[in-house]
């Protein structure tokens, strides 16, 4: 049985254990047993019979992050495989937190500088991509310990933008 931990955007987490035999899946969701019919259509799509309601589901995965489209609605979550444990960086609620560019773009404006105190969700800089400007915010309250980019600079995806501690 594969055991996973699902982290939802509302901060809650749940355990889910799955075992699949042909098109039958046995599931333990937070310990509650469920039995569902399940057919995988391709890499990103499957059909699940949820006791009378048959739904087709699109699941897009990027590392631990999963986007699930179900019944026309979009759900996001992170899945942690209990076999591998949770990566250390993810647990780092304390200490230095690095923020990287989610996509390539251009740094239009710096709103905060090194040494400034910031609140959680406070805007630190403005990135432009696809003709839109977007504030990149601090994931936590703290002190800006590094700003790794300059105004006007173009950054690739994954580039370190700033650190807060």
């Amino acid at each position: 049985m594969l055991k996973l931990e699902a982290h939802l955007p509302d901060g809650k987490s749940h355990t889910v254990e799955v075992q699949v035999q042909d098109e039958k899946a046995e599931i333990l969701l937070d310990g509650r047993p469920l039995s569902v019919w399940f057919r995988k259509l391709n890499e990103s799509r499957c059909v699940i019979d949820l006791q009378g309601q048959m739904v087709d589901v699109v699941v897009h995965r990027s590392g631990r992050r999963h986007t699930v489209i179900l019944g026309g609605r979009t759900y996001r979550m992170e899945l942690f495989d209990q076999r591998f444990g949770r990566a250390a960086e993810e647990d780092a609620g304390e200490g230095i937190q690095s923020v990287r560019a989610e996509m390539p773009g251009r740094v239009v404006r710096l709103l905060k500088g090194v040494g400034e105190q910031v609140r959680k969700n406070e805007g630190i800089l403005v990135l432009e991509a696809m003709k839109m400007q977007n504030e990149v915010r601090s994931p936590r309250a703290g002190l800006i310990s590094q700003v790794a980019v300059q105004e006007g600079e173009s950054v690739p995806a994954g580039q370190l933008l700033f650190e807060v501690r």
Partner: protein, 490 residues
Amino acid sequence: MFKKILVANRGEIAVRVLRACREAGISGVAVYSDVDRAALHVLKADEAYPIGPAPALESYLRMDHILEVAKRCRAEAIHPGYGFLAENPEFPEACEKAGIVFIGPGAQAMRLLGNKISALRTAREVKVPSVPSSGAVEDLATARKLAKEIGYPVMLKASAGGGGKGLRLVQSEKELEQLWQITRDEVAASFKDPTVFLEKYLPAPRHIEIQVMADQDGKVIYFPERECSLQRRHQKILEESPSPIVDPSLRRRMGEAAARLAKKAGYQNAGTVEFLVDRDRNFYFLEMNTRLQVEHPVTEMVTGVDLLHWQIRIAAGEKISLRQDEIQPRGHVLECRINAEDPENQFAPSPGRIQCLEEPGGPGVRCDSGVYAGSEVPIHYDPLISKLVVYGATREEALARSLRALSEYRIAGIRTSIPFFQTLLTHPRVLAGDLSTELLSEILQQPQTQDGEGWQEAVIAAALMYQQSQRRRIESAPSRWRTSAWDERC
């Protein structure tokens, strides 16, 4: 009729034009930047040529490259789409010089109407109403007199203003007296030019526009209005026709005003006259868009007229054979602009590769899409990937059907504004047709409540798909390296 047309654009509008070409038996030529080599508009074309690197300045905005391709492949006409070169009067001029027909208005009309001041002057000449305003005001006595003429509330504004500075909403004469000197001082301190003037304040106006079409003989027809009040940062996101507040008489008056303006300007081909409409249903000229607009399908679906085909025919010298009274709205049409952006993260752009794409179908649904399963949404251009245009016999039916259609989308790989529309189209004020240009920012300020339903099923689905991928991985991956490679891929 033309034999070959080059489309100087990309994305859904290029696809739209190329479809029209195919339907008219005209060869369609695409141009593409390096990142667009396998883009949908390229695949829909009969021929396709590269014009430069990804940044628009080096490709889609390079008139010289585009004209060179047009000459080389012997295109007789160029359709500019919207954006990029569409409203740059130098482009029709350069086309003319190259002996190629520009499918759009002439450079002169484009210049006249593209400039706000000369457009406003032209509008006044043909008695198209604009937002009432005074000239420069020197003293409080004059201000009092003029404000009374315009009618309260008024805005007290700096001529040189910008960024909200020197801008005061004035509700009454008493307020004017209180604010006059403060504003004057602030303006004098903020700008070199201390001039102030008064303008009528329109609280929560609606954005309603009129599509016009003019042929080379000067015949101008107008179409039923489109309401585009729902805007985010001045970008329209939901459009509809008819407007919930426009009746046949207002429709005719707005249409005739728009046609007068187009005629006066010697306008040719498709254009749109934008108005603000206040609570008393007075309309005021805002500006004219001298091109085909993003939201043109709304008009096509509500009238049954193909605007693209007419654009091409008019540019080829055909006369408009439609009679004004033949152009009538039937039913109700809504358009949602589907963007590659993340509505749960301040609408941040969401470029990337589209892994899976299924678009809605069935009755009353039109999808004008610029992407396909497997295609890339590049970071370099605007985030519009598809337009969902929906017809209903009534506004209520169109709203319900739009929600049905939105629920049928399956897009993986990028994030889109679809979940946002699913919330927006159930908002009481949207359902009631109680719109204004300020509504969307009001809605966005409210906390977006996401109810907790469905997460169990979503977790189960994600876990099952993860389990399946692990099964394959275990079966096929003998080494640690393989495992990491797989992780990268997913």
